[in-house]
């Protein structure tokens, strides 16, 4: 596509990247078909092709208002468009550039700013998020049942096996998962332990995804660096892999190399983390796990992070099938469930509409249980699902 980016902007690395991405788009519109918000709203402005066009205008210096910002805000960054794009447009990278630029040009309202700041203050901190959740749980009985659904009850954290094998891997705990679903990581640790791998937990708070999605570059870089610092001693001592059981965090780790590519001190370390990061399925599919599930009917909700960012489509389903689950077909499986990090809070209307649609599709084949691979999807779906939703790793331990 033709571009007219200002010469000055073209001198910057952002400018060059944006120009290359914009020019790789041929405006075919295949992406719109894959886009959740275009599917719901049918407006070119709420699909990837239209967003690319809006970002192009923004970067070329056309006047923009909160209107363009609202269309960029509505993007879930599910990246289904990237998977659908034949010409290989790196949409998410362009969106990051566009969101950062519009944040400079269009100031948000005070309540919006406060909400976003509060989210960036609470969620990335396990301690603060844990306190908030404790408070909410204490008040739960007093609240109307519609609100109660959104406050998940405390769950057991499970036993973490002793570190005893020479094969070692790290499990990055992340920010909200240790409070919401502490049992997921420990069930992975036990599974690995049974197969000769010791898992070491690393608590470093948020991987940076929350602030990244909220276009707060400085905080993102800080979170990434804290995470790298926490991982580094183990990396140097020769661990095999860094695992995260939340697909969203996995997608973020995969981007460390790109985000810190110009950081003199951290670029090499960030690249190393990206190299070492693995989704649990990449480890587990190589292990000789016994079939034990005896035909239980499961519908797998493949998180967008797993499919579009990590490009691991179909792999978890294959493992579940192998251990004896009856993995049911899911219609519109590529359509986001609406969780998308803080999206379910900031764009509740669209997020709930997508969840309703996702659940309807998941119910179709009458599963006994719904499985997923990301804490965000799990919590978002569980708040409305009539069928229990669990992380697929927890399923591997059920009798």
């Amino acid at each position: 596509m033709q571009t007219w980016l200002p010469a000055e902007f073209m001198q910057t690395s952002e400018g060059k990247a944006a120009d290359a991405i914009l020019r790789s788009c041929v405006h075919c519109g295949f992406c719109n078909a894959a886009c959740p918000t275009y599917t719901l709203l049918g407006n070119e402005l709420d699909g990837p092709r239209g967003r690319i066009y809006q970002i192009k205008g923004l970067l070329e210096g056309s006047p923009v208002t909160a209107q363009t910002q609202s269309h960029l805000d509505r993007c879930l960054t599910c990246r289904a468009c990237e998977t659908a794009c034949p010409s290989g447009v790196q949409y998410a990278k362009l969106l990051d550039i566009g969101r950062a630029e519009i944040a400079k040009r269009v100031p948000r309202s005070v309540p919006q700013r406060l909400l976003r700041r509060a989210l960036r203050w609470i969620i990335p901190s396990t301690r603060r998020f844990g306190l908030m959740l404790m408070l909410a749980r204490a008040l739960r009985p007093l609240l109307p049942s519609a609100v109660q659904r959104y406050i998940p009850l405390a769950k057991p954290s499970g036993v973490w096996p002793q570190v005893r094998h020479s094969r070692r891997m790290l499990i990055l705990a992340g920010c909200v998962q240790p409070v919401l679903e502490p049992g997921i990581d420990s069930s992975l640790a036990r599974l690995l332990d049974r197969h000769g791998i010791s898992a070491v937990p690393v608590y470093a708070g948020c991987c940076g995804a929350v602030s990244h999605h909220l276009t707060a570059a400085e905080q993102t870089h800080a979170h990434i660096k804290t995470t790298i610092d926490a991982l580094w001693p183990s990396i140097e001592s020769g661990i095999e892999a860094i695992i995260t059981t939340a697909g969203g965090c996995g997608a973020m780790l995969r981007d460390y190399r790109h985000i810190l590519r110009e950081d003199a001190e951290y670029s090499a370390k960030a690249a190393r983390v990206t190299e070492l990061c693995r989704d649990p399925v990449q480890i587990i599919e190589a292990l000789p796990i016994d079939a034990a599930a005896k035909g239980r009917r499961v519908a797998f909700q493949a998180p967008c992070s797993l499919v579009n960012a990590l490009k691991l489509e179909g792999r978890v389903e294959a493992v579940l099938q192998r251990v004896g689950f009856d993995v049911l077909p899911v219609q519109e499986s590529a359509l986001c469930c609406g969780s998308a990090g803080t999206y379910s809070i900031l764009q509740a209307g669209l997020a709930n509409e997508l969840r309703e649609r996702k659940l309807k599709n998941l119910y179709l084949a009458e599963p006994e249980i719904i499985a997923t691979a990301n804490i965000g999807c799990l919590t978002h779906l569980n708040a409305a699902s009539q069928i229990p939703v669990a992380h697929w790793l927890s399923l591997l331990e059920m009798d």
Partner: protein
């Protein structure tokens, strides 16, 4: 001529009573992404964009536009490649994507009623559990809308055996510019009276706005298998196409891709086509389980006898789907080789295939722009993709000139300037090559019968006689007539 301030104010006030705030776009910021369809080389801001959600709203918008004499350009998913949905700067862009409901699937009668915004592939996905599908499958079927398919009379890789959109539509509901709802055809194969349905298929939004379509569904074939045959010479592949058809076989699809197209497709979908191939043919055979393997062997034999150096049959359904995914994504995948491409859509008689491809190659060298070929070889529908860089000054003009030469070549060998993408804004000059002025006058009369004020998609599909006269003069003046044997008007 742009909209006068008073007309614009009246238009906005009246539209505002019919449509919600979010369904009525007026400021430039919101209009910009609507300035082009799939052919982004041609751009024009509309005055207003309307996003109606019901037939009644479409009707109301049309009535308002008719009364205020404001032009209306209908638009579907905006994937068209001839600029058919290029906005009118003094008009309303009527976007029909929100009308996206499948109204009825009538399985016993093999048909379905859909709104125009339903995506082509979404219909087949919805009917597949019932063992039925909608046959026309343009390469953009993942995104394009059925309404747009009807407007352009779209084809697809399977139209060799199953026909174009016109052969698969049974009925239409259409609104005239006055807002009158016409019910044309029905659920049966023929309807009494003139075959107006055939006239409306491919009418490119010039005669009315389609608000409901009854399509024919077909039972999914019991068995379908696809093969890829690789050739070291484009001419041999061209000859093989003729040989398959001459043997009395009508494949479900018979597609050709040349070296550049293969490279682009392989970058996106890694099928593993033979790397040294100058051209490959994709040939699909479908039907009963007992006949398909036998027919496939016959095709294989013909391919080998025609000089194929490798023939590979898809081993399972997943690989078959992969072959077609790669073929259908080739146009946009060419975006990996070049920032822009200009897609042509000429048809030629099948037996001239090898010759025409050779001449296109010569033209490509002459103009200094690469051309990738990926097309429906079986029905002689060419899609040369001219690779250019819109950021390089003069490249687009050069691409257009090369495109015009290719289309002229198609007409010269007895073909046409468009096989399935429509004329739109892009091939108006080509229409001057294709038709005599007396024929064009008849087209203009048909248009006037439906739309006397000329408000529906003005300036598209049928050129004015004046334009053709000027074009003829221009070409003589510049002395750029590559095919002097052509009759000129």
């Amino acid at each position: 001529m742009s909209l006068s301030k008073t007309t614009c104010a009246a238009l906005m006030t009246r539209l505002g009573k019919v449509l919600s705030k979010h369904a009525l776009l007026h400021d430039e910021e919101a209009l910009r992404p609507y300035e082009c369809d799939g052919l982004s080389a041609y751009r024009q801001l509309p005055a207003v964009v309307c996003l109606p959600e019901t037939v009644e709203q479409v009707q109301a918008v049309l009535r308002i536009c008719d009364e205020l004499q404001v032009p209306v350009v209908p638009r579907g998913a905006g994937t068209g490649l001839s600029g058919g949905a290029l906005p009118d700067h003094a008009g309303v862009l009527l976007v029909l994507t929100k009308l996206n409901r499948i109204l009825e699937i009538d399985a016993p009668n093999f048909c379905a009623r859909v709104e125009p915004g339903v995506r082509n592939l979404a219909l087949s996905e919805a009917t597949r559990p019932l063992g039925l599908y909608y046959a026309p499958d343009p390469s953009s079927q993942i995104a394009c809308s059925i309404g747009g398919n009807v407007a352009e009379n779209s084809g697809g890789v399977h139209c060799l055996k199953y026909g174009l959109t016109v052969h698969n539509v049974l009925g239409l509901k259409m609104l005239t510019i006055e807002g009158e709802l016409l019910d044309i055809g029905g659920k049966t194969l023929d309807a009494p009276g003139y075959d107006v349905l055939a006239l409306l298929c491919g009418s490119e939004g010039l005669l009315g706005v389609i608000v409901e379509i009854t399509v024919r569904l077909l039972p999914c074939p019991e068995c379908a298998q696809v093969m890829v045959a690789a050739f070291d010479d484009v001419a041999k592949a061209g000859a093989a196409v003729g040989n398959v058809i001459a043997a009395g076989i009508i494949p479900a699809g018979l597609e050709m891709m040349d070296k550049l197209a293969i490279r682009a497709a392989e970058d996106f979908v890694h099928v593993g086509y033979p790397k040294h191939a100058a051209a490959i043919l994709l040939c699909e055979v479908d039907g009963a389980r007992v006949e398909v393997p036998e027919e496939l062997q016959r095709v294989r034999q013909i391919m080998l006898e025609s000089g194929a150096f490798e023939v590979r049959i898809a081993t399972d359904e997943a690989e078959r789907a992969l072959f077609w995914k790669s073929r259908k994504a080739t146009f946009p995948a060419v975006g990996r080789l070049s920032p822009d491409y200009y897609c042509m859509d000429g048809t030629i008689p099948r037996h001239r295939l090898a010759e025409v491809l050779t001449r296109i190659e010569a033209l490509s060298e002459q103009f200094g722009l690469p051309v990738a070929n990926v097309f429906h070889a079986g029905d002689g529908n060419l899609h040369p993709l001219i690779l250019y860089d819109a950021n390089r000054e003069g490249d687009l003009t050069k691409a257009e000139a090369l495109g015009a030469c290719i289309l002229r070549l198609c007409v010269a060998v007895g073909g046409t300037i468009t096989g399935e993408h429509g004329v739109g804004i892009e091939k108006l000059d080509g229409m001057c090559m294709q038709f005599k002025s007396s024929e064009l006058s008849q087209f203009l009369r048909v248009k006037a019968a439906f739309d006397p004020q000329g408000l529906l998609n003005p300036g598209k599909a049928v050129p004015t006689l004046h334009r053709c006269a000027e074009l003829g003069a221009m070409h003589v003046h510049r002395g750029q007539v590559p095919f002097p044997e052509l009759e000129r008007f």
